[in-house]
Amino acid sequence: FAYFYGRPRWDRGSSMTLTYAFSPTDMIDYISLPEIKTVFKRSFSRWASVIPVNFTEIDDYPSANIKIGFFKGDHGDGQPFDGVLGVLAHAFSPENGRFHLDEDETWAIDFEKVKSKKAIDLESVATHEIGHILGLAHSSIKEAVMYPSLKPRSKKVNLKLDDVEGVQALYGSNPNFKYSSLLAYENSYNK
């Protein structure tokens, strides 16, 4: 695992809650908002299950800690998107909170319903970008969520040991988290 320079992290005291909101204007319309919200809730939950941080959705976009939206091309942050495939999304290190997805991608939450060869799994990308929001940079471990690339029509949503160790070094461990459950899962996955 790796961190951004200076190891930035969110610092909101002992019981940390970070709020997130979806842009009221910059969203996609071919996946319903409730479905998008469900996907993001699951993605945030994965990280929340390993560190003592809660994530709460709010409606007030300007005041949210984490601001999520879909943007096309040059969208004003100096990191223009590049059309179909290429760069899929980006997010900023703590405590910036901007979380941008490329509107030009064919986002999917169910590959049974979306047949495009270029479909990109929204949940995998969401889980990866939340890692950046929390302060993780890219990992060299191919199986890790924080590995930089993701093939179309593939999923990678479960945190690996590398992801967990990285984020727990920043925030500590969730008291309910058990390494044994993660290792058991990884062992079964490897088999």
Partner: protein, 114 residues
């Protein structure tokens, strides 16, 4: 009478995807000069593997030089690829894969659990 066989046409629809043109750099190695390689160097610069050398001012050249070879090696190490220093098929395939826009190396520090 010979009947015509059935022909199946497979359409690869990735040809208009970003970075598709990088396939033409497959098998390039140090010393090569391929028109358009400066675009690949920009890719490497964007993701933190390469900086513009002083003698090339504002633009990259199309030459696969020693500095670019070092960048390719660094990229291969980062992505867990066989370290060849060449743009072999596995490296090119990884370069063309869709990815996160956050830089891989700039402004990052690496850590390991001991």
């Amino acid at each position: 009478r010979i009947t015509p066989g059935q022909v199946t046409v497979i359409t690869i629809d990735d040809q208009n995807a970003t970075w598709y043109n990088f396939t033409r750099f497959k098998d390039a190695e140090k010393g090569c000069h391929i028109s358009g390689m400066s675009e690949l160097k920009k890719y490497f610069q964007r993701f933190g593997y390469l900086s513009i050398p002083n003698n090339q001012k504002d633009n990259f050249t199309d030459v696969f030089d020693a500095q670019f070879e070092s960048a390719v090696i660094l990229y291969q190490q980062k992505f867990g690829l066989p370290v060849t220093g060449k743009l072999d098929s596995e490296t090119i395939s990884t370069i063309m894969s869709p990815r996160c826009g956050v830089s891989d190396t700039e402004s990052t520090i690496h850590a390991m659990k001991h």
